[in-house]
């Protein structure tokens, strides 16, 4: 979501800055997008569109993959067998989302290896939310409820995004994300109906995850670059602030139903606008987390790099074995013919 990348400046790859697209093709492309036609991988598209989408889809994929870590942290400690199975399946779903999304990004001409390399080198970003730690079991509930909840807000409009493979991946992913969201809320509900200690655990998780969840929608519209073009190209359909407000409006009553208090003294319902008004987001914290200074940035990247480095010999073995088989298959009929 993990669409925070859209707010980064698109400097373009070396040599393509200032590339002027053929105005006729560009006009035809824009007309198709305006008519809600889906753009497919083999269709002509402006370089900036290709680049923006590659960045957005791969950032989304990286977020799914890095997102496996904070929740994976609790698989071995899940408090019941039912919760353990559900969490394991959830984390596995996120890995599956990463796979589809890498495949969608590859249709735009960048290989998964290159995309992963960009993540591991620190060049590509992933959602800021996964740089926060999971400290208690209630964090697993809070993540499902809030983080998957925020992801859904962001991703439901993407089911109608202009790029066909991305829109189709989103339809499948959104179904699973809403399942995750309900499951997370159900964990919170169980805690809030439980002992005092469990309720305190749930409250503490909300205190820690609420503001970072609001930051998932990216910087305020006033500071967000590239929103106009992304909106015109139907890569983005609602602004960061609009989606954030939609999330707050949906989530606050759910929190109150749990009997929890949001860590925001300014939170109040505006009878006229029918929206929940909320306090100032600490954008300095957001910038720091994006800049690599969140509580777990180093640990998350180290974990990804370690898995990649320690798995290198396995991937090499698989390639070497496939090559041997191929060579043997090629040799066999020849031998038979001799």
């Amino acid at each position: 979501m993990y669409t925070q990348a859209l707010n980064q400046k698109d400097s373009g790859p070396q040599g393509t800055q200032g590339l002027v697209e053929d105005p006729e093709r560009l006009a035809r492309f824009e007309a198709r997008v305006a008519a809600e036609d889906k753009i497919e991988p083999n269709d002509w598209m402006p370089e900036a569109y290709r680049r923006t989408l590659t960045r957005q889809i791969s950032q989304h994929a990286h977020s799914e993959i890095v997102g496996m870590l904070p929740e994976g942290n609790w698989i071995t400690r899940a408090p019941s067998l039912r919760r353990k199975a559900a969490l394991l399946a959830k984390v596995q779903d996120e890995g599956g989302h990463g796979l589809y999304l890498y495949a969608a990004a590859e249709t735009l001409g960048t290989s998964r290896e290159q995309l992963v390399e960009q993540l591991l080198s620190g060049k590509a970003k992933y959602s800021s939310i996964f740089n926060y730690p999971t400290l208690t079991w209630a964090d697993i509930g809070a993540i499902g409820w809030l983080v998957d909840g925020a992801a859904i807000m962001n991703q439901i409009p993407l089911c109608r995004t202009s790029f066909g493979p991305y829109a189709r991946a989103m339809i499948r992913i959104c179904k699973e994300e809403s399942f995750h969201q309900r499951q997370g809320y159900e964990i919170m509900l169980t805690l809030c109906r439980g002992t005092e200690q469990q309720k305190a655990m749930a409250q503490d998780a909300l205190n820690r995850w609420w503001w970072p969840s609001l930051m998932m929608f990216g910087p305020p519209d006033a500071e967000s670059s590239h929103t106009d073009q992304s909106m015109r190209w139907k890569i983005k359909r609602f602004t960061n602030d609009a989606l954030r407000q939609q999330f707050v409006d949906a989530t606050v009553p759910q929190g109150h139903y749990l009997g929890l208090t949001f860590p925001d003294p300014a939170l109040r319902f505006n009878e006229e606008t029918k929206h929940w008004e909320f306090g100032e987001i600490d954008w300095e914290e957001f910038r720091q987390v994006l800049a690599g200074n969140g509580p777990c940035n180093r640990e998350r990247m180290e974990a990804r790099r370690r898995a990649h480095d320690e798995g290198a010999w396995v991937r090499e073995a698989a390639l070497a074995h496939a090559a041997k088989r191929k060579a043997r298959r090629a040799a066999t009929p020849k031998l038979a013919a001799e």
Partner: protein
């Protein structure tokens, strides 16, 4: 709730043993999720772990029913201490590198598959039903681990060395898989006689190791004790992690 111990009848003991095998192995495999050598393996090992966890849950539920004291699957998984666990020593061994994980999965699946296939004809209807589902799942685990073992053995020099080392390291735990089962349970057709599974296991191992260009280690002294609760050191650590919330908040519902 504090630590529980069960009065184990032969049937309860046998069901618990299979449940503990599945849970402990699922736990180990789940440790890979998010850290596997490639994304496809995060998913595949996660799948195997989920299958085994499902088998464990069915078996614990049945064990609780056999015991008849109103306990739940979670009581049996979370409230017994290490000496009450009945799993094979092989399955509690730490993951080590990917080769050790694959060898552990292969060596066990190669016996678990004929075990469940035979148990599909069990005179115990519950076990027969569990077996019918587990047999299909374990067939996939066996295929997946055998394919990987072949890739690793017949891959690069390094992968070959690691696969052979993993076999040499874990072989001493294979004897326990064929330790005799309660004679009466076998005679009544409740569970297969472990010795009867050995020829198929030997043949599977021979076929896969040959294709993997790996050597079958010599059958030396075999480590045993898991079925009577005498475990290796890693199990205590695993349970300390797995059971921590249930132990720290006794009686809470999650």
């Amino acid at each position: 709730m504090t630590t529980i111990t069960l009065a184990e009848t032969p049937l309860l003991h046998a069901v618990l043993a299979r449940a503990d095998d599945a849970l402990v192995h699922a736990h180990r495999l789940s440790e890979w999720v998010g850290h596997a050598p490639m994304l496809e393996e995060d998913l595949a090992l996660g799948n195997v772990a989920l299958d085994l966890l499902g088998q464990a849950r069915s078996l614990y539920t049945y064990a609780a029913e056999v015991e008849g004291k109103g306990r739940t699957e979670d009581d049996l998984a979370y409230l017994r201490d290490a000496p009450s666990f009945r799993n094979l020593l092989l399955l509690e061994q730490p993951n080590g590198d990917f080769a050790q994980t694959i060898v552990r999965l292969f060596l066990h699946s190669a016996v678990l598959h004929p075990f469940w296939r035979t148990a599909m004809g069990s005179s115990d209807a519950t076990l027969a039903a569990i077996a019918a589902k587990a047999e299909k799942e374990v067939a996939y685990h066996l295929r997946h681990s055998a394919e990987w073992l072949i890739r690793l053995g017949d891959g690069t020099e390094e992968s070959h060395r690691r696969a052979q080392e993993a076999l040499d390291r874990l072989w001493r735990f294979t004897g326990e898989m064929f330790a005799p089962e309660d004679a009466d349970l076998v005679a009544r057709g409740v569970l297969p006689d472990p010795a009867s599974l050995r020829p198929e296991w030997d043949a599977t191992v021979a076929r896969v190791l040959a294709e993997a260009t790996l050597d079958r280690p010599k059958d030396g002294w075999m480590q045993q004790g898991g079925r009577r609760g005498v475990h290796t050191e890693p199990l205590g650590h695993m349970l300390a992690v797995m059971q921590h919330l249930q132990r720290a908040y006794p009686g809470a519902t999650w």
